[in-house]
Symmetry: C4
Subunit: 233 residues, 4 copies
C-alpha cells in the first residue's frame, strides 16, 4: 500500500456512493479526496464505470492537475478540482455529477430559490448558478476556468465556501464539496432533492414566497450554530 492509500480508499468509497444514491447515469460523475499536507488529491479515472473501479485505480494528482501516481487518465474534470483545492485548504473532498433536477436548474440558468426548511437546514441562501463562461475562457483551459467560475460566483454573491457547499455551473451541472467524501456526496444528494422540491414548488405555486429570514436563521442555527441541537454531540 502506497503513501496515498488513505485518500485513494476514501475517494473510491465516495465514488461508489454516487450510483447508490441515484446521482449518476453510466460514468457521469466523479469524487476526489485531497491530502492538503502532501498537496495532492485522489480522483476517479476518466470514463471507467463505477462497478469496475478499484482502490488502486484511483489517480493521484497534484494541485496543478499533474498526475503523480496511477496508470489511468484522471477524470476530465480534474483541473476544476485542482483549482478549488488550491484556493480552499479547508475542503477535503469535491463531487461533480449530472444529477437530473440539479442539472435542469443549471440548464435553466437560474439560482435555486430557498423555499423551505429542507433547504435552510443546509444553507441560508439561494443556491447560486454561475453564468456560462466567456468564449475566450472556453477556448482556453476550459476545465481549469470552470474552477474560477465557481470561485467567482461565490465571490459575487458574497458567499463563503464553508457556508455554501454547492454550486450550479450554468448550462453544465452541479459541483458540491465538504470536509469528507461522505459529506461532499451527501451535499450532492441534498442538492438534487432540494432542486426537485423547488421545481415542484414553482409548478404548484408560481408565486410561492421564499422562506422568511427568521426561519432561515432558526433552521440553520439549530444544525450549524454555536448552540446546535440537531444530531448527536
Amino acid at each position: 500500500m502506497g503513501k496515498y492509500s488513505y485518500i485513494k480508499e476514501e475517494a473510491y468509497e465516495g465514488n461508489l456512493l454516487l450510483p447508490k444514491l441515484n446521482l449518476v447515469l453510466f460514468t457521469w460523475g466523479n469524487v476526489s479526496v485531497a491530502d492538503h499536507k502532501e498537496g495532492v488529491f485522489a480522483i476517479k479515472p476518466s470514463g471507467v464505470p463505477y462497478d469496475k473501479l478499484t482502490i488502486e485505480s484511483m489517480v493521484i494528482v497534484d494541485f496543478e492537475g499533474e498526475v503523480i501516481e496511477g496508470n489511468l487518465r484522471p477524470s476530465s474534470d480534474t483541473p476544476t478540482h485542482a483549482v478549488l483545492y488550491q484556493h480552499w485548504n479547508d475542503v477535503n473532498s469535491i463531487v461533480h455529477t449530472h444529477s437530473t433536477y440539479a442539472t435542469a436548474w443549471a440548464q435553466s440558468q437560474l439560482d435555486i430559490p430557498i423555499f423551505g426548511t429542507t433547504h435552510a437546514d443546509h444553507t441560508t441562501s439561494d443556491i447560486p448558478c454561475a453564468p456560462p463562461m466567456s468564449d475566450e475562457m472556453i477556448k482556453g483551459d476550459y476545465e481549469y476556468q470552470t474552477g474560477f467560475q465557481i470561485l467567482n460566483i461565490l465571490k459575487e454573491k458574497k458567499l463563503n465556501h464553508k457556508e455554501m457547499e454547492m454550486v450550479l455551473v450554468g448550462n453544465h451541472a452541479p459541483f458540491t464539496w465538504g470536509e469528507s467524501a461522505i459529506k461532499a456526496v451527501y451535499n450532492s444528494a441534498v442538492l438534487e432533492n432540494v432542486a426537485k422540491m423547488a421545481y415542484l414548488t414553482r409548478q404548484i405555486n408560481p408565486k410561492a414566497p421564499k422562506l422568511k429570514d427568521a426561519l432561515i436563521n432558526k433552521h440553520y442555527e439549530r444544525k450549524h450554530g454555536a448552540n446546535a441541537y440537531y444530531g448527536q454531540k
Copy 2:
C-alpha cells in the same frame, strides 16, 4: 428489557418503515410512539441513520419534552411531538417526514385540494397547510411552537384531529398521526401519494373541480362510517 420496551419497539419498527416506503432521504424523518398512562413517548434519536437504529437507541421523553431514559439526544422535533401528545390523549403515534410532494405543497403554502376518491377514502376535507409562524414564535421555542401551529390550523379550519390525521406546516413539511405507528406511517404514505396526484391533476387541468360532497361522504363513510364495509370486520 425496561418498562418502556413495548413503545421503544413500536417506535423502532415505525422508523424503519420510513425508508422502506421511500418517505425519507438520509435521516430526514422521525416516528414516535406514546404511552399515555405513563405520560411518555419513545422517539428516534437525532441524526442517526435508519440502518444504525436499534430498539435500545430509541429515546424516552415525557410530555414536557424532557429525556427520561436513553443515552442519545432525541430528535430535534421532539417538542412538537410532546405538545401534540399533551393535547391529544387518543393519539398514540406521530410521524414527521420531508417527503417530496407533500413538502412541495408545504413550500407552496397551499392546502391540498380534495380532487378524488383516493383522498376522500381518508379524509373529507382539503389537507390544511398552516401558515408560517410569526417571527416572535420562531425566535422563542420553535419546535414547541410548531406543535401549536398544528393545533391552531386544525382549530381554525374546524377540523378534528381524529378526522384529519395529516397537516402541512407551511414552508416546512408534513406531520401525520394515528392510533399506532403503522397507521401514522400509513398516513404519511397516503399524504405523499395524494399530494403527487393533486399536483398532477392541476398540471393536467388547472380548472379541475373538487370532488362533490355526495362522493366525499360516500367514500369516507364506506371506510370509516358506522356501516363501513371496506376491509375485514
Copy 3:
C-alpha cells in the same frame, strides 16, 4: 381444492402482479376472474395486503354480488365487477387500481388524448373519462352504479368493450379488463404508461396534435387486425 380453484388461482396471481408492476400502494387495487358458465367470479378480499394473500383467501361471488364461498369480505368494489360481468360475457377478468397518472387524469375529468403509436397499439380512440355520477346514484348502491357509469360512457362514445378495454371513472380511478387476468393487468400497466406519456406530451407542447387516422389504423391493425403481424402466431 374446490370447484372454483382455477379462477381463485388466476385471481390470486393477477392480484400479485399489481404491486410487482407498481400499480398500487398498500391495498388500493383488485383483480377478479370470472367463470361465465358457473356465473361466478373470484375477487380479492377487501383491505388485505398483497403479501398476505393466499389462493384460498380469494372470495367467490355471483353476478349479483352475493358471496358464494369464502370467509372474508370481498373487495368493496365487488358490485362494479358484478355489473360488468353481467353485461359482458366475453370478458374474463376485471382490474381496478388507483395508479398515479391514470388517477390524475380521472381527477382532471378529461379523456386521455391519443397522441402516439404507444396508445394506438392498444386502442384507436381517446381513453374515455366517465363524468361523476349524479347525487342520487351515489346515495343509492354506489359501487353497483359505478358499473353502469362504465357501461354508459362506452355507449355514449360508441365504443365496444372489446376494442376499448380501459376506462377512467371521473374523480375516482381507472378500470381495465380483458380475456384473462394477465391481459387485464397488462391493460392497467399500459394505461398508466400511456397516461404518463400523454401528461408529459401536453406539458412539452400544449398544442400537440392527436395522431392522424392513417397511423391510428395502421398501428392497431398490425397488432389486432385480420393480418396482424405483431407477436408470434
Copy 4:
C-alpha cells in the same frame, strides 16, 4: 453453434440491457446487431418478453427484411432496421424503444433543444424529430418507410448518422444506433436522460437559452475530437 452465433449473442445481450436500464415496459423495444459482410442482422423475436429470450431465439434476417434463420417471427420493426443497415454500412447495431420522456417529445413533434453539456457530450445539434409520414407511405410498407423517414430527417437537417446517433420519429418513438449493441443501447439511455432534463429545463424556465456554440464544440471535442481527453486511450 451456427455461423451467426456471434451476432445472435450480441443482440441477445443488448436486448437484455433494455429492461435493466428501465427503457422498456413489457416487450416494447428491440435491439438488432448486423454482420455487414454476410448482409444479415440478428433481431429480437416479436412480442416475446425479455426474460423468455434465449440466444437461439434471435432471428436472422437479411437487409431486405427476409428471414434467413429462426423459428420465430422477427420484431415488427424489422423493415426499419433493414433499411438503415442497407444505407449505413458503418452501423452495427440499432435500437428502438418507447422510453417515456423521449416518446413524449416524439408525441410533441418537437426537436429536443440542446440545453446543456450533458447533451453536447454526445452530439452537437438538437435531436431531430421526424414529422409524421404521409398517408400514402403509412398505407404502403409502413415499417420500411419509417427507415426512410429517419434517413430523410437527417438529410434535411444536414446531419451525419455518425455524428447524430439518435432520432425521434414523430408521434411514434425513438431510434438510436451505434458501432455495437452496447453503444446503441447506451445512446437510448442517454437520449431518455437528455429528454427528461430538457423537459424539466423548459418547465423551470420557458425562456432557457440553448447552449452557446463555444460550449457545444468544447464538450463534443473533448470526448470525440482528434485530441479527445475524456475516457482512457
